[in-house]
């Protein structure tokens, strides 16, 4: 138990706490449902209200599920959060970088930049955005397995952009369903394992 406390130790402790909070797989399930919902939205051209409603209610439902299943097993903790402005600036800067890199590569390779090509490249754009988010998760959790999903997501995006579908939106729809199914499946497996591995600890009390 006795070990020196250095910046690295504290960073590792923070990462361990984050990893533990993600062990339940619920975040993956919700991300998967969101991606499948987005795919459905593009496939059947339903109103974007689904995405808005999901974004509005998902955090509340997630928190309720965590209260029921996660906190009685792992305990509750809240990590220090980054200032909202900093997070938004980071996402926007990364998005801009992805657009610039993609536009440059497309222009160099094809010497052209049409609207049709732009639509077809949306799976690559989504893959790059997902890879960015997962790389951020590696930093937060110290779990390098997220790199694997990031590479898979990016490669899947590139492959679906290159493949000539009849409709320019099909690639994006397939991408959403593919990644959504992967995340939901991964989340369900992690959640089942989590419930088996960690029983509810009702006996622990500070009294």
């Amino acid at each position: 138990m006795e070990k020196s406390i250095s910046e690295d130790n504290l960073r590792e402790m923070e990462q361990k706490a984050y990893r533990e909070s993600m062990q339940d797989g619920l975040t993956e399930i919700f991300l998967g449902i969101l991606l499948i919902g987005m795919g459905t939205l593009f496939a059947v051209k339903i109103s974007a209200a689904f995405a808005v409603l999901f974004m509005l209610f998902a955090p509340r439902i997630l928190e309720k599920l965590k209260r029921k299943y996660t906190y009685p097993r792992m305990g509750y903790m809240k990590l220090h959060s980054d200032p909202p402005g900093k997070t938004a600036r980071g996402i926007f800067s990364y998005m801009l970088l992805v657009v610039i890199v993609m536009a440059t590569v497309v222009f160099i390779v094809f010497g052209d930049f049409s609207a049709d090509m732009l639509y077809r490249l949306t799976p690559t754009f989504m893959g790059a955005m997902l890879a960015g988010a997962l790389t951020y998760l590696v930093g937060k959790s110290g779990d390098h397995r997220y790199y694997g999903i990031a590479v898979f997501g990016l490669v899947a995006g590139i492959v679906l952009s290159i493949y000539r579908f009849e409709s320019m939106w099909t690639g994006l729809v397939v991408y959403f369903f593919l990644m959504g199914s992967c995340f939901t499946g991964l989340g369900v497996v992690r959640f089942s394992y989590f419930l088996q591995k960690y029983p509810i600890q009702e006996e622990v009390t500070d009294e």
């Binding site: 138990m1 305990g75 509750y76 009390t205």
Partner: protein, 106 residues
């Protein structure tokens, strides 16, 4: 370390924090905004009684804040580091670094 002044960092070490269990508790609370009793118990590996006793001492020193509440009719204890605790912990880490660096240099 032969000169009298070099012992100052050792004398400066906060004994309340220097106890391994309390150091673990403070370190875990330092990296999060808040945590509950179960989380801390799991992370530190301390028994409920032991953890409770150390938390009492840290609360008495003003280093942590303990909030007791009821969730679904069950007692629930939330913990967080106070600003005083945060400063004391940082100061402790700095003092320990000075002491250890001094020993290595000697």
């Amino acid at each position: 370390m032969n000169e009298g002044g070099d012992f100052e960092p050792i004398a400066d070490i906060n004994r309340l924090i220097h106890e391994p269990a309390r150091l673990m508790i403070l370190a875990h609370l330092y990296v999060v905004e808040s945590a509950d009793f179960l989380f801390l118990s799991r992370q530190t590996g301390l028994t409920a009684g032991n953890l409770s006793s150390h938390l009492g001492k840290l609360e008495e020193a003003g280093y942590i804040e303990i909030k007791k509440e009821f969730l679904d009719k069950k007692p629930h204890t939330m913990l967080n580091l106070t600003e005083e605790g945060r400063i004391a912990f940082r100061h402790y880490v700095r003092s320990m670094k000075q002491v250890l660096n001094g020993l290595v240099e000697e």
